[in-house]
């Protein structure tokens, strides 16, 4: 008998291309490959859910999408979500006046309708993705008398550099407490739950995200180009560490005046970052590429002599796997989940700017090192498929159902 999971998600491609939606879709597809039955509930606004359905591949026909009316407009991008939530809460804490009201009401409605929408479903387990859906999941699980699994893709603390919106923090913690079991996307995130939310490690399993990136390493043609390119891709927010990238760039530049530093992505820190790069005397050497398309990103990865992810707190960090898939040697913050699965890389503490710069310089100077990082790291991608990771989720289901 295949297991039937009732999932509560918040975003799903193509409407949202944040990490959460991508991971959610990967997991759903992985579960379907194993023959699991998946009912996915999404809170799309009117008419917003059809694209999601159209995206389904034939094998996903088992999946039903139940639409819940919501006051909330889908986020236009993860940036604005992060900006709204964190900016409104950093100064004072508590529910911000501008957006949290909307978000709160949407979450409330999603929770209220969760049973109503799913009462004809007979799941074996309820599985919620991040805090917005925890209330809905807990309520539905209670109604169906099945275990409730909370999946943590990111915490409020990651997004806000440990200055959380207290209301969201409380919703998260409540969800963790109510959950029969928790899945985190990394040991790093598991540790945050234990340390910051006081959750017992016994009820947390780590299932790292999978990847759908197939290695596409182009033949090496440009290793010794005159202007070696060092790449940062990510939102320009505190969490992603763009300032650390700039500080490291200053040191690298002093040794390698020809090096060029590209920051691709947008975010509220852009004006400050531009100012900072000028005051560091790097205005000629740092390029702000803005938001890049998938294809533009690919060509940047392929040209990059080194990709840097200096995040201050990164539950996973899918972007590193994309960089690896396209043949860029990577330097990863230890404060990231992805560093747990990519060992053919340099791992640095995000605050250790000098070490970061030293690693960049070494990768640029030592061709055998760059070539080896490039050729070895891709093996991670072969192992880290969504099918493999979904199998781990299924074994978590087995465990909680036995105990329930």
């Amino acid at each position: 008998m295949s297991v039937h999971t009732l999932m509560f998600g918040w975003e799903y491609p193509p409407k949202h291309l944040g990490g959460l939606g991508v991971a959610c879709q990967g997991l759903v597809r992985g579960l379907l490959k194993h023959g699991a039955k998946v009912t996915l509930v999404l809170p799309h606004g009117e008419g917003e859910g059809d694209e999601g359905l159209n995206l389904l591949s034939p094998t996903e026909t088992q999946r039903h999408t139940v639409r819940v009316k919501s006051m909330l407009q889908p986020y236009d991008s993860p940036e604005s979500f992060s900006k709204r939530v964190s900016l409104s809460s950093i100064p004072k804490g508590g529910a911000g006046p501008l957006y949290a009201g909307d978000l709160g009401a949407a979450v409330h409605e999603f929770t209220e309708l969760s049973v109503e929408m799913t009462k004809d479903v007979s799941p074996d387990v309820v599985h919620s993705h991040d805090w917005m859906t925890f209330g809905a999941g807990a309520k539905a699980a209670h109604y169906h008398h099945v275990p409730f699994v909370a999946h943590v893709h990111a915490t409020e603390l990651d997004r806000t550099h440990f200055h959380p919106n207290e209301w969201i923090f409380a919703r998260e913690r409540e969800g963790f407490m109510k959950a029969d079991h928790i899945i985190t996307v990394s040991q790093f995130t598991k540790n945050i739950l234990i340390r910051e939310y006081g959750i017992s490690g016994d009820k947390i399993d780590v299932v790292h995200n999978g990847t759908t990136d197939a290695p596409q390493i182009a033949p090496i043609t440009t290793l010794q180009e005159t202007h070696p390119l060092i790449l940062f891709i990510g939102r320009l927010t505190v969490q992603k560490g763009p300032f650390h990238f700039l500080e490291a760039a200053r040191i690298v530049h002093a040794h390698l005046p020809n090096a060029r530093f590209v920051l691709a992505g947008e975010g509220y820190l852009l004006p400050e970052l531009i100012e900072r790069s000028c005051s560091l005397g790097l205005s000629e050497d740092v390029i702000f590429a803005g938001r890049v398309t998938q294809n533009e990103a690919k060509s940047l990865y392929a040209r990059a002599r080194c990709f840097v992810m200096p995040s201050t707190s990164e539950p996973f960090g899918l972007v590193a796997l994309e960089a690896i898939a396209h043949g860029a040697p990577v330097i990863l913050s230890k404060q990231s989940g992805v560093s747990e699965v990519v060992s053919h890389a340099f791992h640095i503490d995000f605050w250790d700017i000098e070490k970061l710069a030293d690693c960049i310089i070494t990768v640029l100077r030592e061709e055998p090192l760059a070539l080896q990082l490039r050729s070895e790291a891709v093996h991670t991608l072969h192992r880290l498929t969504w099918e493999n990771q979904a199998a781990r989720v299924l074994s978590v289901y087995d465990k909680v159902r036995t105990r329930f």
Partner: protein
């Protein structure tokens, strides 16, 4: 008759590198090595292994007059004794004074120089032999190359340098069903003339003439060389599996082990292992010291003899120990034919632990490329630094063959990753290059 049991313990500590930065390169008199770390490791191992194990061995040697053991102490280990542990050195000298402990020869810097430069290799062997002679009063007769890296050609080089025996891994693919418990010989062939010339140059000081009257070959300086093979099954039962609860042999007691050893038959059971097995790899609470303590008593009671590698060869050549063929029968010494390199590392037993990937190869080629430039300076400090960078551990730390993603595992290294090992090493190389450049100008 039960086979002889021959213990040899490897003792070595590398000079680990400090967290060098690119800003250090070209700075005046920058030190590459992490003395704090090296001292800390040395003292830790001294307290857990060297000192207690040597105390035990000394008392065993005093109690059982027939008990024999042998050591190979790397030159860089002996250097560290001078820096960090005179007490440790003295404990080895106390063992030497019993006259029942043999000290083997190796490359001073625990290097893989043989793979790259014969003159450099010979100089290191000579330097090591002189050090052993100075500290322990005897020139070594038996050679063991770093990590038991071995080949036919190396055996002939060692023979040319005056050694009567050389150690190697009893690798299955070479033994092809034969027992490792016999001395073997390399296939006979002449080394190229240029190699012979280099060897001749170093032989004179490296080794005194063989002591006379020791077997049939004692009379000629360039007698045949015998290869002694590690019985890796039995040796690894102690070194690796002793405390492994999932192993069928667990818990291993001295009686069982002795029964296995004698049952394996042949002329000699060669138990070669890292000395750190006692107290460091296998902690004291595993009972490893008790195990070691029981063996000589048991062997004494059961009439089982121990021998040093030299004695193993002497006994093999002595006419009265012919066995299997009846009295007076001629013993055939089999051929151990290693036409490619074997070592005692990993399951591959080849060179891939040190030269298995791009960064290892870059580092390896990088350091040996400096040989001429270093030697031209006639600067003994630079020479010493260059040689300390040849220690095989540096390359071992860069090994990635078991560096499985997500599995930060049993792999033992002072650094965070093989890439960190390379980062530090490549900075050291860059700086050394810069220094040599300066000397040239």
């Amino acid at each position: 008759m039960a086979p002889l049991i021959s213990f040899y313990f490897q003792v070595h500590q590398p000079y680990r590198l400090r967290d060098l930065r690119v800003t250090d390169i070209g700075r005046e008199d920058i030190d590459y090595f992490d003395h704090e770390k090296n001292r800390a490791v040395f003292r830790k191992v001294a307290e857990k292994c060297y000192l207690p194990a040597n105390r035990l061995l000394l008392s065993l040697l005093q109690t059982y007059p027939d008990f024999r053991i042998s050591f190979s102490l790397s030159g860089v280990f002996l250097d560290q004794c001078e820096e960090y542990g005179e007490d440790v050195l003295k404990s080895f000298q106390a063992l030497a004074e019993t006259g029942r402990v043999e000290f083997l020869a190796e490359t001073y810097y625990h290097s893989l120089s043989y793979l790259q430069s014969l003159p450099e290799f010979c100089e290191q062997v000579r330097k090591h032999a002189a050090k052993i002679k100075m500290l322990f009063g005897k020139s070594p007769q038996i050679f063991r190359n770093t990590e038991l890296v071995y080949s036919n050609e190396l055996a002939h080089v060692a023979r040319g340098l005056g050694f009567k025996g050389i150690l190697a891994e009893g690798a299955d693919h070479i033994l092809a069903g034969r027992s490792p418990n016999y001395p073997y010989r390399p296939p006979s062939f002449e080394l190229p003339k240029d190699m012979q010339a280099i060897i001749r140059k170093h032989r004179t000081n490296a080794n005194e003439k063989r002591p006379p009257g020791r077997g049939r070959t004692g009379k000629t300086q360039n007698g045949p060389i015998h290869v002694l093979l590690k019985n890796y099954r039995l040796a690894d039962d102690v070194a690796f599996r002793f405390s492994d609860k999932s192993w069928v042999g667990f818990p291993l007691n001295a009686e069982t082990f002795t029964a296995w050893a004698t049952a394996s038959g042949g002329h000699c059971v060669n138990l070669y292992m890292d000395f750190e097995t006692f107290g460091e790899h296998q902690w004291e609470d595993t009972g490893i010291f008790e195990f070691l303590k029981t063996l000589p008593r048991l062997w004494h009671d059961w009439g089982i003899k121990t021998a040093t590698p030299s004695e193993v060869i002497d006994a093999w050549l002595a006419p009265h120990r012919t066995e299997g063929t009846g009295a007076g029968g001629e013993k055939e010494t089999g051929v151990f034919d290693a036409h490619t390199f074997v070592s005692w590392a990993d399951i591959e037993r080849d060179l891939s632990a040190w030269r298995g990937n791009r960064i290892q190869e870059a580092a390896f080629q990088g350091i040996y490329a400096l040989e001429n430039a270093v030697k031209e300076t006639n600067d003994s400090r630079l020479l010493d630094i260059w040689r300390r960078l040849q220690t095989s551990d540096h390359f071992y730390y860069m090994c990635t063959k078991y560096w499985n993603d997500g599995d930060v595992h049993k792999y033992f290294s002072p650094y965070e990753s093989p890439y960190e090992a390379y980062r530090r090493y490549s900075h050291a190389l860059c700086d050394l290059r810069a220094r040599l450049e300066k000397c040239r100008r």
